[in-house]
């Protein structure tokens, strides 16, 4: 079986995988990073979004072997100890989750938007969330959270 090495949340990791092993399977089943969820397994719902080399990607639609030597960031890599990332904090402050299943993907997707646009409008956030589905239909507060989180991140960078 191929051995794959990558950097996940700042730590070098490697493991034996089958060629067909999905990135999300490697993260959840081998690294036990179960914050990344599998919702639909058909690249529709976005519960599995992580960052690969700084860019959001659906980890159910990537092979682990495609991430050889890549920098992967999952939801577990955001908080600094007990200090939540500003985007996580914004989801808490704005009640941006109901059941919470879609939340890791929502936050990882939101961070890719915030990287490009620190003051997204409501419409820009809604357009960006094309690939993230919340089956509780809690979009209203998710959108509020992302707008607040992006601005909070910009304020941190500015300060």
């Amino acid at each position: 079986m191929p051995t794959v090495s990558m950097n996940v949340n700042g730590e070098a990791v490697s493991g034996e995988v089958e060629a067909r092993t999905l990135l999300v399977q490697f993260l959840r089943e081998q690294l036990r990073l179960t914050g990344t969820h599998v919702g639909c397994d058909t690249s529709q719902c976005g519960a599995c979004v992580v960052h690969v080399n700084g860019v959001s990607a659906k980890s159910c639609t990537m092979l682990a072997v495609q991430c050889a030597d890549a920098e992967v960031t999952t939801i577990e890599g955001l908080a600094d100890g007990d200090d939540l990332h500003p985007m996580q904090e914004a989801f808490r402050d704005n009640h941006g989750l109901q059941c919470g299943f879609c939340t890791p993907g929502m936050i990882m997707s939101a961070l890719d938007l915030a990287r490009r646009n620190s003051t997204p409008s409501e419409q820009e956030v809604r357009d960006w969330l094309e690939g993230n589905i919340c089956r509780c239909t809690g979009y209203h507060n998710i959108v509020k959270s992302i707008m607040a989180g992006a601005r909070a991140m910009a304020a941190v960078r500015g300060g």
């Binding site: 067909r20 659906k58 092979l63 072997v65």
Partner: protein, 265 residues
């Protein structure tokens, strides 16, 4: 997903050699169609040859009136390229409305056109703009490249390296998307060259991208939405599925074409 042997190619020649070596090898660009297809066990390749590590296949070059997009350039890169936006804004707009942000981050122009999904957006842009597909062996006019549903003029082991687009005088793409997948139920790309010739390329409606030549003739006489009043596509041979009947798609071709002409300004 059935298992396979994974190979990372380091050059186009290496990829071509690995494809030839494999019993039933396939190339992978972004994998946005290939991986879902494998998960559904609709294909069972012996080998996957990943093009991600091949240098020189990504990037955008604008020279004179020509935009050249490397085969492994992602939809996100094309959508956000200021050079593309300046030279052919309709091309950036097409790329920016494919799938969702994560699909655009991984999906590539070469992968999209080599797959030739009948509802994909890029085929309409290539045919509408009269693009040229460059491969490791030759150059193929877009009009000859897309041959039928999921089929192209590519030979075994032939690899798309880039796509060359001549900048039109004006162009626009209008898509009526499937609300779930964002694939085109019908998409129409209209372009007029500086010489005044017009192309109307239609995706999503039929088994393969095609040109509405009657509309092109009408628009060459009068480049305005009114020139298409009363014109629809023939419903014969159009796609019919749970999303739309052939008659509805035929109607949408006329509506999207008029909207595209209006958007050309």
């Amino acid at each position: 997903m059935h298992n396979f042997t994974y190979h990372a190619a380091n050059s186009v020649a290496d990829a071509a050699a690995k494809v030839a070596d494999g019993e039933d090898a396939v190339l992978m660009a972004g994998g946005m169609t290939l991986l879902p297809t494998l998960k559904q066990r609709l294909a069972q390749p012996s080998d996957i040859i990943d093009l991600a590590g091949v240098a020189g296949l990504s990037g955008i070059r604008v020279e004179g009136g020509t935009v050249t997009v490397g085969a492994m350039t992602t939809h996100d890169t094309v959508a956000n390229s200021s050079e593309v936006a300046a030279a052919i804004p309709a091309l950036a707009a097409v790329a920016g409305h494919i799938g969702d942000p994560q699909v655009r981050n991984r999906g590539t122009i070469g992968g999209s056109i080599a797959n030739n999904d009948p509802a994909a957006d890029y085929p309409a842009a290539l045919v509408g703009l009269g693009a040229t597909v460059c491969t490791n062996r030759r150059e193929i006019a877009a009009g000859d490249f897309f041959t039928s549903m999921f089929e192209t003029a590519l030979d075994e082991g032939e690899i798309v390296t880039s796509v060359r687009f001549p900048a039109p005088e004006t162009a626009a793409y209008m898509k009526f998307p499937n609300p779930a997948s964002r694939y085109a139920i019908v998409g129409v790309f209209v372009a007029r060259t500086t010489g005044g010739s017009v192309r109307v390329a239609v995706t999503g409606a039929a088994g393969c991208v095609y040109r509405e030549t009657a509309m092109e003739t009408a628009l060459e006489g009068d480049f305005s939405p009114a020139a298409l009043d009363g014109m629809t596509a023939s419903a014969d041979d159009l796609n019919e599925d749970i999303h739309a009947s052939a008659e509805y798609r035929a109607h949408l071709v006329g509506v999207m074409a008029r909207r595209a002409v209006a958007a050309c300004g």
